[in-house]
């Protein structure tokens, strides 16, 4: 049913709309959400578009209900998504953890705004980068994509769906107010060039005795859906391969190791970075999301002044591309980490860096300009 999808071609479109259209192309047919600035355009656009493509939209009573409805729909086999911002993302954390524990694919879009609490609803922030990884209690490995353009709002939404289907877990698209509200060019390639991943379903018939919905022989077990006849038990409790709860350290060891290792073992396959002017760079700006946009310019300006600057952009924050950052740091003298928060991603960078790491903490409400980042590059180059 591709006839009602946004056709391949070039557009000048808003980031949030690009995200919604990408979700539809990725196969999303269920959206549950609650209005919140600056993500509401995704909810509104989905309410308009989903019925046209044979999908379902519902506006729920809060974000807790939204994420749970998304997980319910996904367990019935439908690719599902929700979109929110800071306060709503906080409310969703328990549900995200349930999705991790039950290995339920879905995409959660968090359009970051200024925080903490209600913060600055209409202005930019990057204060949720650690919450995106550690937000729900207990151990799991988050997969988090961070777009820096309208095009990436599209591309990374599709990748987020693919990763969620491949690794059977919620995946987060961590946008921000500027990228989401910005209008910019979007190129949609021919559909056959867009890679779409669908979750694996069990290949054995439901009648086989002792079917194991979380079969340990698989790194990512095929997903038995509601109504297929496998009579699954799915629980947020620590469970065995059969899905049954257990209160033993032995089962807990298997269960949490399984949850984290399916991502850890594939981290190099999942993580993505962009390398910019890194040749011979002494000073490397480690950046992500909207903060990368002034950084490109700052690095170019620094180079024109004779400073050997470069930039490494994290497209996936999590899994954190530690080996790449480490390698870059081995050749650099200083890493500069500008972020629109009081210093968050600087910590994993420091953990692996072989050189000096300097943060540029910028309060939410505005994007640092190229001049500000350039000043930082200049000051550490001396």
């Amino acid at each position: 049913m591709t006839e009602r999808l946004l056709p391949p071609g070039k557009y000048f479109i808003q980031g949030n709309i690009a995200c919604a259209e990408a979700a539809l192309i990725a196969g999303c047919r269920f959206f549950a959400g609650y209005p919140i600035t600056p993500s509401s355009e995704i909810l509104e656009w989905m309410s308009y578009r989903l019925p046209q493509v044979g999908g379902y939209f519902i506006q729920m009573e809060d974000e807790i209900a939204s994420i749970m409805a998304v997980l319910g729909a996904s367990n019935a086999g439908i690719k599902s998504m929700t979109a929110t911002s800071g306060p709503g993302f906080s409310l969703m954390q328990e549900g995200i953890g349930f999705g991790m524990m039950t290995e339920t694919p879905c995409v959660v879009v968090n359009v970051q705004r200024g925080g903490p609490s209600t913060g600055i609803p209409t202005l930019v922030g990057q204060g949720d980068v650690m919450q995106a990884k550690w937000g729900s209690h207990g151990d799991y490995e988050a997969i988090v994509y961070v777009p820096n353009s309208v095009q990436e709002m599209f591309d990374l939404t599709i990748k987020a769906f693919n990763a969620s289907e491949e690794y059977r877990q919620p995946v987060i698209l961590l946008a921000d107010q500027v990228v989401s509200h910005m209008y910019g060019p979007l190129v949609i390639p021919p559909y056959e060039e867009i890679k779409i991943v669908n979750r694996k379903l069990p290949c054995v018939p439901p009648s086989i005795p002792d079917f194991k919905p979380f079969d340990a022989r698989y790194e990512v077990p095929p997903m038995a859906l509601a109504g297929m006849g496998y009579r699954v038990h799915v629980t947020g409790l620590t469970h065995d391969e059969r899905g049954y709860p257990h209160y033993t350290h032995e089962v807990s060891t298997w269960c949490v190791q399984h949850l984290v290792s399916k991502v850890r073992n594939n981290a190099k396959k999942i993580w993505e970075v962009e390398r910019f002017m890194l040749e011979g760079a002494d000073i490397v700006v480690i950046t992500y999301g909207i903060t990368s946009r002034p950084s490109y310019q700052a690095v170019k300006m620094a180079r024109s002044e004779g400073i050997k600057a470069g930039m490494l952009r994290l497209i996936t924050l999590w899994p954190f591309p530690d080996e790449i950052v480490k390698k870059v740091s081995e050749q650099a003298k200083v890493l500069v980490v500008p972020e629109i928060n009081m210093g968050q991603m600087i910590h994993p960078v420091k953990e692996v860096a072989e050189c000096i790491v300097v943060g540029l903490s910028w309060a939410p409400g505005a994007v640092p300009t190229p001049d500000i980042i350039l000043d930082m590059i200049r000051s550490v180059s001396r």
């Binding site: 009602r4 047919r29 269920f30 549950a32 019925p51 046209q52 379902y56 519902i58 729920m60 009573e61 809060d62 807790i64 209900a65 939204s66 749970m68 409805a69 998304v70 997980l71 319910g72 729909a73 996904s74 367990n75 019935a76 086999g77 439908i78 599902s80 328990e94 549900g95 349930f98 439901p206 509601a226 109504g227 297929m228 006849g229 496998y230 009579r231 699954v232 038990h233 799915v234 629980t235 947020g236 409790l237 059969r242 049954y244 709860p245």
Partner: protein, 286 residues
């Protein structure tokens, strides 16, 4: 020897996860009775077990799905209803029953409860009301009768409990019933009716919890409360729901029955109509 009188197979074994026995429920607990009624209703519903789905939240009552051998989802505390709604919207052919406790469905999950009834999703909601938080050690909730002694109200509760049938009816639920674990046949029958209702069917089941509620509130065994149900329950399908609040101390009768049973378009009906309209419009515009 006890072995000699034990049957090898229970007639409900095909719908029970026998490999999960023994269950966690205390002697005298009523949740097992609700499970038996639900299994009987599945069998008599004419809907194959593969199409039945049971969803719960957290708590003693919410362990019930884990023992029923159908697709069963044990979700987070208070959130069974929205999970069931998501599943129902995309797969309306599934017969989804939410079974959870009073603390789960009406206390922490109260917001989802009222909105689900308001929108009239086509799911069944069975609320097992044992007047207490059992699993966490006997703290009171939004259904605990006023004046009850609980582990977090050692001097007695001072807050009023919900009259849940009145609440559900006020929101327009097409089916509202209350039974107790003493009324096994009527409860099964109500579940069967609920499965046929188009929209949200709500059943409150009063159930004994001797361990956490009864011990400090004059019902030291499960049988004590079952006797109380037998003695105090009055079946009145036509009851004025403003009068059905529960007081376990003053000698007030407990009104039970199938209070409301009516036709009403479900959320799914409204959505189907909406989508048909959109499709028609799009076709006429090419």
């Amino acid at each position: 020897m006890p072995k000699e009188i034990l049957a090898k197979k229970h007639p409900d074994d095909d719908l029970i996860r026998v490999d999960r026995m023994p269950h966690i429920w205390c002697p005298g607990c009523g949740i097992g009775i609700v499970m038996k009624c639900y299994i009987k209703a599945i069998k008599e519903s004419g809907i194959p077990p593969e199409r039945h789905v049971v969803v719960s939240g957290i708590g003693c009552s919410s362990r019930l799905p884990g023992y029923v051998n159908i697709d069963s989802y044990h979700t987070t505390h208070g959130r069974a209803i929205p999970f069931a709604i998501g599943m129902n919207i995309v797969k309306p052919e599934l017969e989804i029953t939410v079974i959870a406790g009073d603390g789960d469905l009406i206390t922490i999950g109260g917001n989802h409860f009222i909105h689900a009834i308001r929108r009239n999703h086509d799911i069944n909601v069975v609320l097992i009301n044992n007047f207490i938080y059992g699993m966490t050690g006997g703290q009171h909730g939004a259904t605990t009768p006023i004046g009850s002694k609980t582990s977090s109200a050692p001097y007695g509760t001072i807050d009023n409990p919900f009259n849940i049938p009145l609440l559900a009816a006020s929101l327009g639920a097409p089916f509202v019933a209350r039974w107790t674990t003493f009324h096994v046949r009527q409860l099964t029958d109500a579940m069967l009716k609920a499965m046929k209702v188009n929209g949200l069917a709500f059943i409150e089941v009063l159930s004994p919890c001797p361990t956490q509620y009864g011990k400090d509130n004059s019902f030291p065994t499960g049988l004590d409360m079952m006797r109380y149900f037998k003695k105090m329950c009055v079946i009145n399908h036509e009851a004025d729901l403003r009068t059905v609040d529960i007081d376990l101390k003053s000698g007030k009768p407990i009104i039970i029955g199938n209070f409301i049973h009516k036709e009403k378009p479900s959320y799914n009906d409204m959505e189907r109509k909406l989508i048909e309209g959109i499709m028609k419009e799009m076709k006429s515009h090419g």
